[in-house]
Subunit: 417 residues, 2 copies
């Protein structure tokens, strides 16, 4: 039994958006051990969508559609599928009610155009969309041995529908014989090449396999095992994970869903410590990262966005003389920012960032990508760290790298103290 | 004459990488005015690649392949194409020399496996790769009226080969009769369905076409025109854009590369006004959005992340009594935060956000998704806005929606004053 991914949307043919839905479903199918050999992208065109369905039915049994479930006239995936199999559309009142309820929650009234989203082919079941207005369908045997599922193009909605409904359905309907279970170890502060050399031998393993990935300055190692059950796969993975963690030491900060912010948060909780931040070039990005974790209010009090030097002086107590002599992007100012916010907000730790995110503002001795991180703790001693992230990446890259690196320095401090 | 994109690589079927090559080629084809209706992803499997070629030849004349040009045994795109058309492979000495030269430049010796990359089907031309070892092919009329091009999967190499060789070739061979030029109008504060109804008639236009998109709470209308030249296309687009802007009024905040942060920034610059922010549930996200714009230091001074109530009182002067009586998530506290940060940082405007991002922390009368935005300006009067974003989306969604909506309120204020 083979699956096929069919992504519908003229915006994909125009290159307006990246087809992240295909990657998500591909990863998920691999994880469930469901083979899939083809992915197709087609525009919002009934005739071409029908041709794609016809081709797919000749080589696959599970057809997964994304896109074209919206309320506008060019969203016609479901009606085209119904038409292909010669099944009439029926308006499902429970969908209307659901959409009306969701609009009401937002203090809005459902538009007539949304009624379209309540039309489901006779014989198909509703694939509920818990976060958006457009439901999908699960249609078993529109033709013998064929199962069809449709998902909206909005990734967040699609992911949730896949995890909440589609995966349990596929497992209970015998689609997943052997499972591929993966665990991803996460690293910060070591380049991919350096890590790869340290763990080179592991890349030759066959079950589990170990593969490296790098993105946004983070390095990951994915350990994937094939086994009849998830627990059996985990048993294959565990010893390899332990060896890798031993080799990497502090550079391995977590696994799977962990983030630097969640790991730092847990360490602060464990020690009963609190944190405040002072941000210049990141402009609030560090605080946003920390508060992306639900429950962060238990250890994160807040901070000061001191984008302008007047705020560094007025709210953080940075010395005007030092700003004049050393400049806002300097070790001493980073330290004063960290000390200032820590005493101002009365927290255990104060973490600061000041740097040149570019593209403008760089100079000979202070180039774009120069970033200072300040860290003030309960002891008198205050640390600062200098980084030169270079100017080959963009402003967003440098700001993100700065926030992550600040969190990583605090993480190492908490682990070493 | 229709093009088709065929991406070869098992790593795509495993979801290990995002198919950015398909997006790049799609954008390029649209820009060149070469229609393309299908994209296919297939693994490194000769039989399946041949099936895909067979299907593509039935509906397209220009077949663009990416991936499978490497030196390893699983790279077999070119030999499979040659096999499909029954043409023998010939080793091309100029390719061997080129690869040896590139290896020598990096002080390395070409490995025997690279010889494979010098095999080109009889009748095909070499598509030189100036930056990598793997060349592609340009094969005109392996079958009458059919042109085939192959590119490596490495995006940087593929982009360069496309721009240096493929585009000039396509132009000189009459593939580019007309260009497709698009302009995207951006909207905030109106749901996709409501906007769609207002501009419903425009969806029936043929040249230019108008199509709606929605993501992250933003709605877009893309106007695309076909014409012999970009300027001619722009002439077709302009009157439609003006009509749409007239209909949408303030709900249309910009176009193409604009963001709410860049538009607000420009408005502040134009009026010589300055801004500070006070953030609770967004934890710095609003400041990060504002400072994502290079040059934002000209109008954005900074702000206070008042995640904990002690910070609201201590740094922003929020009244403890009001916190007790009305709670941190209330209209009066939002107003006091905005006034506090404005006077504290001595800016023209103070913008504040306090809300419940969830998933925890909600209650009967203050559910998850309840957000108050405060706006203090030069005049005495201070505004606050209440939103109920609901709890069907996740924490990230509510925080992003809160920051964007705060920027949108400031935008409307600046346009109305």
């Amino acid at each position: 039994m083979v699956a096929e991914i069919i992504c519908v949307g003229t915006e994909l043919l125009l290159g307006d958006i990246l087809n992240s839905n295909a990657q998500f479903l591909a990863q998920q199918l691999a994880g469930l051990g469901i083979p899939h050999y083809y992915q197709t992208v087609v525009g919002d065109n009934p005739d071409r969508i029908k041709k794609v369905i016809d081709i797919a039915l000749g080589r696959s049994q599970l057809l997964l559609f994304t896109g074209g479930l919206g309320p506008t006239p060019d969203d016609l995936t479901v009606e085209t599928i119904a038409d292909f199999f010669g099944s009439p559309l029926r308006e499902r009142p429970e969908i209307i009610e659901d959409i009306e309820r969701k609009f009401a929650q937002r203090g809005r009234v459902m538009s007539p155009s949304n009624r379209k989203q309540a039309l489901i082919p006779e014989g198909a079941d509703i694939l509920p969309n818990s976060s958006g207005s457009a439901p999908g369908i699960i249609w078993q045997n529109p033709r013998d041995g064929v199962t069809i599922m449709t998902f909206p193009g909005v990734p967040a909605e699609m992911h949730r529908m896949w995890e909440e409904i589609a995966v349990p359905y596929l497992k209970s309907h015998g689609w997943c014989q052997e499972t591929i279970y993966s665990r991803t170890l996460r690293f910060w502060g070591i380049p991919e090449s350096a890590l790869a050399e340290k763990v080179n031998d592991f890349f030759n393993l066959t079950n589990p396999t170990v593969a490296p990935y790098a993105n946004h300055g983070e390095v990951k190692l994915r350990i994937s095992a094939r086994a009849p059950s998830e627990s059996a796969a985990q048993e294959l993975i565990l010893p390899v994970e332990e060896e890798l963690r031993k080799i990497a030491g502090l550079d391995c900060y977590g696994a799977d869903g962990d983030s630097l912010a969640s790991v730092v948060g847990q360490l602060l909780l464990n020690t009963g410590a609190s944190l405040s931040v002072a941000e210049s070039c990141t402009g609030g990005g560090l605080g946003a990262m920390l508060t992306s974790i639900s429950g962060s209010s238990n250890y994160f009090y807040g901070g000061v966005i001191s984008y302008d030097n007047r705020v560094k002086v007025g709210l953080l107590g940075v010395q005007e003389a030092d700003l004049m002599e050393f400049g806002a992007v300097s070790s001493i100012v980073a330290k004063q920012m960290a000390v200032g916010v820590r005493s101002r907000l009365e927290t255990t730790f104060g973490l600061s960032i000041t740097g040149i995110a570019g593209p403008g503002g760089g100079s000979e001795d202070k180039p774009v990508g120069l970033v200072y991180i300040g860290l003030a703790g309960p002891s008198e001693e205050v640390e600062s760290f200098e980084y030169r992230f270079g100017n080959i990446r963009d402003r967003h890259w440098i700001r993100n790298l700065s926030s992550c690196t600040a969190l990583d320095q605090l993480r190492r401090k908490l682990l070493n103290s």
